[in-house]
């Protein structure tokens, strides 16, 4: 069975297929096969969360998931959040509250933040936000504006 194998999944609402090796990671499939480079690789040791995507509705680190394990799965990446030119409320909140500096961790932060809202609802206190962001590391801003952005984005999602 060595060599490459066909894999099919739904990414951002579209059915996609590709040929991957057993060892191909989901993040490699997204970035290198589908050219969806919004999903970043920060640490590559499954700690920083830059590569966070939604897999069947759950936030996961796509650098620690095999592409072949996602056969028939539903994947949403940062590219799948906006509605055309209109940013998703969580993206808009990060822009509005300047929840980023260099921006490298931002796609993962936003995907994790949306997962947080899906699990904990629209009203998030600071403690909940900080606890849920344990798996996302930012090396620039010190999290203050990220927390503000997540809280504002969560509230905005309620009204969207």
């Amino acid at each position: 069975m060595s060599g490459t194998h066909k894999v099919s999944m739904t990414v951002n609402g579209k059915t996609v297929t590709g040929n991957v090796e057993g060892r191909t990671l989901l993040v490699q499939f997204l970035r290198e096969h589908l050219q969806l480079t919004g999903t970043h690789v920060g640490c590559d040791t499954s700690q920083c969360g830059c590569c966070t995507v939604h897999l069947n509705g759950n936030g996961v680190k796509s650098c620690a998931v095999l592409a072949l394990a996602c056969e028939d799965a539903n994947v949403v990446t940062i590219e799948g959040l906006a509605n055309g030119d209109k940013l998703h409320p969580m993206q808009e909140a990060f822009r509005e509250h300047h929840g980023l500096q260099c921006g490298y961790c931002t796609p993962g932060m936003i995907m994790s933040a949306v997962d947080m809202v899906n699990r904990n609802g629209f009203e998030l206190d600071e403690k909940t936000v900080r606890k849920h962001l344990e798996g996302n590391i930012c090396r620039c801003t010190g999290y203050h504006n990220i927390v503000l952005a997540v809280q504002a984005g969560a509230a905005a999602m309620k009204n969207s």
Partner: protein
């Protein structure tokens, strides 16, 4: 990462058959296995993914036991109304593993089979006297963990579920290594009709029962019962995060806090 063949069987029987061929390894959530493969710490001819074996995923009550399927993700255990009601210490343990993204993917069975010396679930297996059910046999929790990343599982043996007896009181308290979220010292305490169990993870090469504390707490289940109880640092871990002496101090102190939390 070295390349490998990949299989995704739909049943335990098929997984066992695939595992028997070559140098194959089971893949559960992959939260430890995939990073270790990326660092080329291990090399396998094939990975056998249990992700499609649905009958070993889920939570149920069976008489006086909480039964958790091996492929149940930590986030599902943490959020389960059933677990929160009948064995909240397990829900709180699951909620403290790794981070939310890891909990969405990582599984109880994967954590057990990996047997990281600082993993959380092993303390619950020993701390409750649980029974591990594999596709071949039942293994007493006390006999399951054998050392650093070493268990009683035979080659090709697959964990199906764990039966946790429901105690009168229980709590898990973890003092975290702040960067990794692993336990510097984690203590699972339970009190049931059969007595008191105190299981310690993170402090030694393998999870162990703190028998001196168990004896003291059996007489009086109160933090004060631990006054004067100590543990020798000789067999405890010493690393850049904590010396063996510091861990020895933490074992008693975290046990105290776990007993308080279980009141």
């Amino acid at each position: 990462m070295y390349d490998f063949d990949y299989y995704k069987p739909a049943s335990v029987a098929e997984a066992a058959r695939l595992l028997a061929a070559g140098d194959s390894k089971l893949l559960a959530g992959g939260m430890s296995l995939i990073p270790s493969l990326k660092m080329r710490l291990n090399r396998y001819s094939a990975l056998v993914d249990l992700g499609a074996v649905l009958d070993i995923k889920g939570i149920r009550r069976d008489g006086n036991f909480l039964v958790i399927g091996a492929m149940t993700p930590h986030a599902v255990v943490a959020a389960s109304a059933e677990v929160r009601k009948i064995l909240p210490a397990i829900a709180s343990l699951a909620e403290g593993i790794g981070d939310p993204l890891v909990r969405n993917r990582g599984t109880m069975g994967g954590s057990m089979a990996n047997a990281d010396p600082a993993a959380d679930y092993p303390s619950a297996i020993l701390g409750l006297g649980a029974t591990v059910v594999t596709h071949l046999r039942q293994i007493a929790g006390d006999d399951f963990f054998k050392g650093v990343f070493e268990t009683a599982l035979q080659a090709g043996e697959i964990i199906k579920e764990v039966h946790f007896p429901i105690p009168q009181k229980a709590a898990y308290t973890k003092y975290r290594q702040p960067a990794s979220r692993f336990a510097l010292v984690g203590v699972f305490v339970s009190k049931s009709a059969d007595g008191v169990r105190v299981a310690v993870t993170g402090a030694a090469p393998s999870v162990f029962r703190f028998t001196a504390a168990e004896a003291a707490l059996a007489k009086r289940f109160d933090p004060a019962a631990l006054d004067g109880i100590t543990i020798k640092p000789d067999d405890l871990n010493s690393d850049i995060h904590a010396s063996a002496e510091y861990r020895a101090h933490c074992v008693v102190e975290i046990t105290r806090r776990a007993v308080l939390a279980a009141q």
